[in-house]
Amino acid sequence: MNKKILGVLIVFGLMGSPLYAEKVKVGFMTTLSGPAGIIGKQMKHAFQLGLDHIGNAFGGMESSVIYGDDQRKPDVAKQLADKMVKKHQVHFVTGVIWSNLLVAIHGPVTRSNTFLVSANAGPSTVAGKRCSENFFNVSWQNDQTPEAMGKYLQDNGINNVYLMAPNYQAGKDMLAGVQRYYKRKISGKVFTKLGQKDFQAEISTLRASNPGAVFVFQPGGMGINFVKQYNQAGLMGSVPLYTAFTVDAVSLPALKGSAVGVLGTQTWSPDLDNPVNRRFVRDFRKKYGYIPSFYAAQSYDLVRFIDHAIRVAGGISDRDALRDAMRLGGYPSTRGNLRFNNNHFPIQNFYLREAVKDSDGSYTTKIIDTVFTDHGDNYAKDCRMKW
């Protein structure tokens, strides 16, 4: 009898000790195959660097990460999210490059009482009416980056702009964003197919409409192909390109000199000067041998964000405390101090960047101006969350 009581006490004692402590489980979903694979690779690298920096322990607790490749397909993303939530029972589903994928998993994941944290996609559809207390975004809201570009084009008197983006949620958000701040004449507006590789037909049509400038949003491999073909068609010199998410550390290694001088807007650049970013870029280049993109910076921020929140909340068992900790912001970010809007999207600065050739021969972007300071997104007012 005494032995039994002793045994039970020992078991209870062990359950309280670190041996039986709860494990933090995080699912990280990006695209590792196909033309978008280069983005996913960078994000995974940055995520792993973040893990190094926090000692592989979110909030100091034992952690495990489940990586998934969504192949940029909404049905695969949904299946992956379902598996992460139902089979692996993760506490956080994170990552997600593409807005259409995020929209597909947003409902199921947030309804299942799992936190969904996006390190990239920021579709307008989840920023307003459909904002959820279980969803956080640590990158930006889609419309904001092109809004900055639109403001620049408007303020600098550039006329007759031709707009082009892929036909999916983010593409629509991008062009909506530009047109929110750019009020001059639009020479044409074209939606291409997501994943399109050959833009020759569109480029021919573009040329025929005689624009003064072109605003283009073609992320990942699509950007590489578009700019390459734009150059081959002889348009680079005559019709200037203004971009969002098209010419960046993901596409520059392939585009090299052909993209130098192209302007784009973004929330981050490798030369952003703060201690967290300096360490990030330095360690990233040392570990992986190439310059990180904003996708990478955001993934790194994701890790620091979750880690910080768990520390502040003192664990993962109390979801409300965890949520309050996440809302607090103030985590070590590569973009300096960020705070969150009521719809759980960040309020931050937006910079004008130019593609340049660095002193050591590599192609990167440099900040030449700040377009917006502490800019919130357009949809926060429609979100009914108040805290």
């Binding site: 490749d69 036909n167 629509k172 197919k193 020759q200 021919s204 049509t205 025929a208 590489i224 081959q232």
Partner: protein
């Protein structure tokens, strides 16, 4: 508008010529060996990857392609000897399944060796510029080269098939395989040779597609389906049919993709038109195929008599 039409016609021609390179091998293999080969698209991919790597190793675009062509030919021969030979006597369902399995295998091999993400290769300086095909219409040099190369290959194939002894054997085999075999033609070697040639042409298409866009696992599949549509429209076993049909399909797809949205935009909202347009244009090709099969169940220029 007229200039746009001409420029888009060139684009359609370029696409059609690329389709022809793939369809030519496919129709020959189908016509002569009665083999449904789903993995033909994988040969496009193999050629593209081999070229990308060889260009990097030799540092020369031309040398890279020159070496990649026989390399792809070899891959084709190996696949034919090891796997396809066992399938000739089987029914079409077996061939479909086995070659489907080949697709999975090829894709994975590429993924293991080169990784799952896309690879981008550049073009040599001389080819990355543009040429004025008409006053005021600068056209990418490389695409022009693709059209020329494709037409050259078409002429080459025509010469081989119509003017040489090998071609005579091929035509005989396509027309009536048993008879040709009975007459003493070394069918086995003929098959291997034809397959290898088809693989090289497919690989060439991949080699030209690569620098234009990118190479990635599975890049051949969308083209494969279109190639099948082409040979069904053109007539199985007929090179002439494959050529006509490829140009037709290339033009319909490109012009459809550009002008259908324009047409639709005058009727419905812009983003709907831009979403429906390309999809509708893709459907056009299948509608075309179905229509042709109704009036000509064996395609436009069927080669088979037996």
């Amino acid at each position: 508008m007229g200039l746009l039409l001409i420029e888009q016609a060139f684009n359609g021609l370029q696409f059609g010529v690329m389709l022809f390179l793939i369809a030519a091998g496919l129709t020959l293999v189908f016509g002569i060996m009665d083999l449904v080969n789903l993995s033909h698209g994988s040969l496009v991919m193999v050629g593209a990857y081999l070229a990308t790597t060889l260009i990097e190793w030799t540092g020369s675009f031309l040398l890279g392609i020159l070496f990649a062509l026989p390399a792809t030919f070899l891959v084709g021969v190996v696949v034919e000897v090891l796997v396809l030979r066992t399938l000739y006597e089987r029914d079409h369902l077996d061939q479909v399944l086995a070659t489907f399995g080949l697709i999975l295998f090829f894709n994975e091999v590429i993924r293991i060796v080169w990784g799952p993400a896309s690879l981008y290769s550049g073009l040599p300086e001389g080819l990355s510029g543009h040429v004025e095909i008409l006053p005021g219409v600068p056209y990418p040099t490389f695409r022009l080269m693709i059209i020329l190369a494709g037409l050259l290959v078409a002429v080459l194939i025509y010469v081989i098939v119509a003017k040489t002894r090998l071609g005579m054997l091929i035509r005989a085999g396509a027309s009536n395989r048993e008879m040709a075999g009975a007459l003493g033609v070394n069918i086995r070697m003929l098959f291997t040779l034809v397959f290898g040639l088809g693989a090289s042409f497919a690989g060439l298409a991949g080699m030209m597609l690569g620098p234009l866009t990118s190479v990635e696992p599975g890049m051949g599949e969308p083209l494969l389906i279109l190639a099948f549509v082409v040979i069904i429209i053109g007539g199985i076993g007929s090179i002439r049919g494959a050529f006509m049909a490829s140009i037709l399909v290339g033009l319909v797809d490109t012009l459809g993709r550009v002008f259908l949205p324009m047409l639709l935009r005058s009727m419905v909202a812009d983003s709907t038109a831009d979403g429906v347009g390309p999809a509708l244009a893709s459907m056009l090709i299948y509608i075309l195929m179905a229509g042709i099969l109704v009036i000509r169940p064996r395609g436009l220029f069927p080669a088979r008599t037996g």
